[in-house]
């Protein structure tokens, strides 16, 4: 049976993991390759690396890092951050990334999704959607690291990028992100129901139960978390053992 995926997410700045990582049993907690290897051994199903650097020089460092990650880990990984053209994707996929994630550039230029799908296949095009709920407007898509509200309603946008060729949706609720109060089950469920491609739930994971809800209530295909894993509040093996006991299909 196809299993639900557990995906740790690493933020990368100038070749190093940032946003605080607390690990004692690996040599260098700031080294993304060390951390990636450790997560792979722990049973993570995939990894996501987000490049949060700004300059072109630092972006070159990121491509080198992607190559280093691909050399050392034997599970799939997605890379994202600052991708705006076919040429950017070519560099990252040729370095060994399995998928790329695009966000603001898809809003700016929706045809990019179609172009990437045509060049590289839908299976390697993940569209990341940052969504936020305000009472008067419902769930809207945000861009530029969540700073700017767009006119797109979240479910419509998810459907549109899927029609354009996205092979997967990474849905982050900004209302939930960082709260540890659980995933945004409502909007995640609506998107999962509306599109025919897999949906990754993101933002708000705080407990094992939250993951079970993302899979069983919202029907997400995968769930992503960062600090929860980095700060060792929850380990991947402990989470998977719990999910298995709950009857969720996981790879152990």
């Amino acid at each position: 049976m196809l299993t639900k995926r557990i995906i740790p997410c690493l933020d990368i700045k100038n070749g190093r993991t940032v946003k605080g990582v607390q690990f004692e049993n690996i040599r260098d907690a700031g080294d993304p390759v060390e951390l990636a290897k450790w997560y792979a051994e722990q049973g993570a199903d995939e990894l996501v690396f987000l490049d949060i650097t700004a300059t072109n020089e630092e972006r070159k460092t990121f491509a080198e890092l992607v190559r280093d990650i691909a050399r050392h880990i034997d599970i799939p990984f997605t890379v994202g951050g600052g991708i705006s053209a076919v040429a950017d994707v070519e560099v990252l996929l040729h370095a060994g990334a399995d998928k790329v994630s695009i966000n603001s550039s898809a809003i700016k230029n929706p045809q990019l999704v179609e172009e990437l799908a045509r060049h590289f296949g839908s299976q390697c095009v993940t569209v990341a959607i940052d969504t936020k709920h305000k009472d008067e407007t419902g769930w809207k898509v945000y861009t530029r690291a969540g700073t700017i509200e767009t006119e797109h309603s979240t479910v419509d946008w998810a459907k549109r990028v899927t029609d354009l060729g996205a092979g997967e949706i990474l849905l982050t609720s900004m209302n939930n992100d960082g709260t540890k109060a659980g995933f945004a089950l409502g909007v995640t469920g609506e998107v999962a129901k509306a599109v025919s491609v897999p949906v990754i739930a993101s933002g708000g994971a705080g407990t094992k139960q939250h993951f079970a809800e993302a899979f069983e209530v919202a029907h997400a295909d995968a769930a992503l978390a960062a600090s929860l894993f980095h700060f060792r509040e929850l380990s991947v093996p402990e989470l998977k053992a719990y999910l298995k006991e709950k009857g969720v299909a996981v790879r152990i």
Binding site: T3, P76, Q123, R251
Partner: protein
Amino acid sequence: MNLVIVDYKAGNVQSVLFALERLGVQATLSSDFETIKAADKVIFPGVGEASSAMLQLKSRNLDKLLPELKQPFFGVCLGMQLLCKHSEEGDTDLLGIIPLQVKRFQTELKVPHMGWNQLEGLNSPLFAGIQEKEYVYYVHSYYVPLSEYTIAQTSYPEPFSGALQYKNFYAAQFHPEKSGPAGAQILKNFLAL
């Protein structure tokens, strides 16, 4: 051993090279007729779309060469589908080495079939040391139905061919290069054939 990976600008070549490197094996990347023909073993990777992959193969005359090969040959993912006769993806005529059709998933489930799923009915030296129901990583929207050449199957929700063997041509729909220790073992088994 002289191991050659067929180079036709398929997306996951680097990942396959790295997986082999982790096994301590050096491979040559080539689209050259004589180099491929002289190899002890050939790996044929692939991700992407069938019709554009066929165009790439034809532009290098590889559509003529590959069916003639006699050494152990391993097609991976799209590299497995390309060995078949015809694909519903872009209504494409393929290499025609294995007399099978490639179909699109028609299911209520999510497509692409993406993630870790189980191998069953293992029936080949390719799977030496691999347990029934082992998890491997899949990402694909098209599949090959079960046939007399199926050497492993996976269900989504109906069973389909997870791996094939026809004469010297071995093939896997999943990605051994991304399937953790089990995938590494399968690559090792191919190298030992």
